[in-house]
Amino acid sequence: MVAGDEEIFREFLVESTEGLDQLDRDFVALESNPGASERIGAIFRAIHSIKGTSGFLGLPKLEGLAHAGENVLSKLRDGDLSLTPAITSTLLSMVDGVRRLLKCVEATSNEGNEDFSQIIAELAKVTAPQVPQIGQVLISAGAVEPKELESALEQQKSEPNRKIGDILVARGSVKPQAIVEALHAQVEARAGISDTTIRVDVGLLDKLMNLVGELVLARNQILQLASQSKEPSFLGTSQRLNLLTTELQEGVMKTRMQPIGNVWSKFPRVVRDLAMTLGKQVRLEMIGEETDLDRTIIEAIKDPLTHIVRNSVDHGIEAPEVRLSHGKAATGRLLLRAYHEGGQVNIEISDDGGGIDPEKIRQKGIARGLITAERAARMGDRESLNLIFAPGFSTAEKVTSVSGRGVGMDVVKTNVEKIGGTVDVQSKAGHGTTLKIKIPLTLAIIPALVVTSHTERFAIPQVNLLELVRLEGEQLRAIEHIHGAPVYRLRGSILPLVYLNRTLGFPESESSDPKAVNIVVLQADDRQFGLVVDGVSDTEEIVVKPLGKELKGLSAFAGATIMGDGKVALILDVLGIAQRANVISEVRDRNMGEDAKKASAVEEEKRAVLLFRVREEGRMAIPLSMVARLEEFPRERLERASGRHVVQYRGKILPLIDLCKVIDGGSRDEHGPLQVVVYSEQGRSVGLVVDRILDIVEETIPAEHREARDGVLGSAVIAGKVTDLLDVHGVIRSTDPHFFERTTAA
């Protein structure tokens, strides 16, 4: 026995002995008044606490005996059993046994050699449900008259080898069918006696799961065939197959489910030991232990969860004196909560500790070289908190042996993401921290959206899917370009667009002038982006199959699956696609989990812009990256071709667009040379005529532009003055609608 437990042990002996004395009195009182349920409750609690503590202290005999007694008591308490003198004496012999054991433990510090199996067996007999006899079953089912049964029983006495059912059937008292039903009922009743659980090899369950996966695929194929068939019986059968497969799939999936309590069960000890070492007081509460998860997922989250719990005790909850000085209870509270939500499991680990100070995190981040000071200044609190998931980050003032150097949080995030989950942290300085993990229920069969790109089909896991947007006709103009990167404004926030065709290296043929654009809005990490696909089909349950090692290096794909028509389709790895398309620029960034807005990193970064004037009051800007050259042409070189002003420029004809006319419809005075901003795209150029070039400045251009109008994306404060941002593409399109079409076709 551990020396430190000595005190607890003494206390237990004293408490238990006191409790037993009270029990004797309660039992006696019960015998005179069997209906006193509050007395049974009190006895139950006393025995229950003896059972619990003895298990904790490592007294298996005492635990076993108390457990057997508890079973009987709980039945009595729930009214499933009524107290008889026989039961009372069995219970009293149990109480005596407990007392003898306690005495023995007190004297010798061990449980001694006395055998209690007799008492335990007696207790078990009390709780065991009686198997109804076949005759009783038949009578209660109304299949036979009691009189008939009696005479049949008489007959059985003379023919002891014949079964009562046979006799009844032979006498014509009952139909054979009724006997069969009665036997089933009897078997069911018996199932309550023997243990209703069996041990099954996990490998077998995995194999079953695989087979069900195959069956789901076969089912999908059959359904597809059935949809083309006109044979009613085939349709009916396939529908039935469909239902059965779904049920079987659910059933098999359930066999692999384990309550999350299996992982949690070791936490009370972990927390207690840790709190002792650190001189802290922590109360662990758990809600939703029964929440089921696939066993592969349970395995995968075991270590991350342990790590988070240790972190919370170590870094989260303060020492008692600190807590008291902040007006909190000396004992900190650590809450584990699990619940199902929308096909996913949420696990929350929250403490009421000191919380995380975003400012401290930022400072630490700068000190560790994870972010620049400049960047830190622009980071929101939420974003800062996510820095704790960056590799090589530690916030504890002193590094303790307990939770190491904080290297674990990035591992936690990686592990959770590996199984398709997400981690989020919320914290209020002084009030505590909550970590929220969202994970899928199972990994093998997932719902997915099927999309097409360049005649190929791809599956996108539904967990990544946020919404679908379809743009048609005029709406297509809502796709804008920032720095050459296409974006779409989805309810005010900027959504970077990724063209699946382009990302996968398919030739861009017919897509140059689409009639409609399908945007699949996806969540990758903390960011959203729009994946532009050629077509959106259906959602389907797909069975994830791994790719061969020859293809493991392709981060764009998470696996493959077999579709209803038997063909193989690749499953897109949304995170991989996002990285490939530079929506998520690098791995470091990914770990820091920036705001979705930051996804269009271009937006927030400082950019060089060209400032110019259109008329005396019109101050405008365009990104320098869109400027090919600045030119000055004498007015004499101005010529006209097909109704437009042009100049000869580098051996070509350069069409000119007078911004004055486009922006406010006026015309300029006719003196002096022309100031021209040349814009080029794929060998084609156009000149934008302005009044005066002002300056080139580096500025952060905010993501939100207001007051957009013809030719103007919006306004922003640049170099201290309100400046309109020229919509270069819009302006060019307004005078030459086919400019971009031709450049892309070229």
Binding site: E214, L504, F506, G548, K549, E550, L551, L554, I562, V568
Partner: protein
């Protein structure tokens, strides 16, 4: 028998190859494939082999030989590997031949894609190139997307 080996033979661009017959899971005719974007040109696609997804490798591309004429459909030689089955796309299937170890020799220095050939066997009327399956399906193709 101990000094003889059986080879499953096939043709790739008129060259005569063989793989150890114990490594061959099955030989099947052309299967419809799902191509894998971004993958190396050696990877022709994925086939559904009775519910199992198998990667098909184009042996012509792997051996650095000119592409197969468009009207000619390849055959699948499905070989077992430590990581599951892989299909080798070949032009035509030959017989299973038994070769005495004594007739096997080293690989001539001048051969193209020499590192993929485990040896050369002298048959009565022609030479059989023994393909090193492990090498043929391994390394240089692993995760090398063409479009960087």
């Amino acid at each position: 028998m101990s000094d003889a080996k059986q080879y499953c033979t096939f043709f790739v661009a008129d060259r005569f190859f063989g793989v150890d017959v114990t490594r061959v899971q099955e030989v099947i005719r052309y299967q419809e494939m799902t191509r894998v974007p971004l993958a190396s040109s050696v990877i022709s696609g994925l086939i559904n082999l009775r519910g199992q997804i198998v990667t098909a490798l184009d042996m012509r591309a792997r051996l650095g030989l000119p592409p197969r004429p468009a009207d000619q459909l390849p055959m699948n030689v499905v070989v077992r590997t430590a990581d599951g089955a892989v299909s080798l796309l070949v032009d035509e299937i030959g017989d299973v031949v038994e070769v005495q170890d004594s007739s096997r020799e080293g690989v001539p220095e001048t051969l193209t894609a020499r590192e993929l050939i485990a040896g050369v066997c002298k048959l009565k009327d022609r030479l059989l190139l023994v393909l090193d399956t492990e090498r043929a399906i391994a390394d240089p193709i692993a995760g090398q997307p063409l479009a960087g």
